[in-house]
Symmetry: C2
Subunit: 123 residues, 2 copies
């Protein structure tokens, strides 16, 4: 295994599944860029999600304490927005550090592969 002997070297345990899921990664990235929160409609548009998917994933994030859902009335109409919590931001940043490691490993791989080209033939 060359220089990769360490057990679990590429396990990436820090890739928190609550955050890693694609739609939730979209939501958290959007919310982390808008610390004051975002309207449901704006969030839906930025993330390219359906109403149902956005609701479902926001609920998962709220239950995990990463996001806060704010329900209010504006001009007598119900209005929903969401904001990242301080814990959500901290865990998002931890997650990003692991993502950065994946990319570092991948870059190292590319340099290595360039030196020792694959012996595989296309299937």
């Amino acid at each position: 295994m060359a220089n990769d002997q360490t057990e679990g070297r590429f396990a990436y345990d820090g890739l928190d599944r609550t955050i890693h899921e694609k739609a939730r990664l979209s939501i958290l990235t959007s919310l982390s860029r808008h610390p004051k929160g975002l309207d449901f409609a704006d969030l839906k548009s930025l993330c390219g999600l359906t109403d149902g998917n956005l609701s479902r994933h926001l609920q998962v994030l709220e239950e995990a304490g990463l996001v806060r859902i704010i329900k209010s009335f504006e001009q007598k109409r119900p209005h929903t927005s969401a904001a990242i919590t301080p814990e959500g931001r901290a865990r998002y940043l931890d997650y990003l550090a692991v993502l950065e490691q994946v990319l570092k490993d991948a870059v190292a791989e590319n340099e290595k592969a360039a030196r020792a080209p694959s012996t595989l033939k296309p299937a």
Copy 2:
């Protein structure tokens, strides 16, 4: 939405779910660093996966054409190894480009958040 108006700005459609799943990302990163392939046992150790999980995810990757499973006999004992296919490498590199974009967006976010600190209080 400040400068993020574009619909689907953070949808990250290129985050191919076949690759994005945590265990499969581990497997592909390991295999991309070992172009000649890896033994089942070595791969299992590097990825910190159980036999069952590794088998299951390798099968998904094989069905998607990203990985090739090689079954052979060594000293009359069955021997399994896996290697990334050229298509697998290409799609892995495409995926990494999107991952890089997520990180770029997140860095921009942090700089922005530092300028406009959150008004949220802990729940």
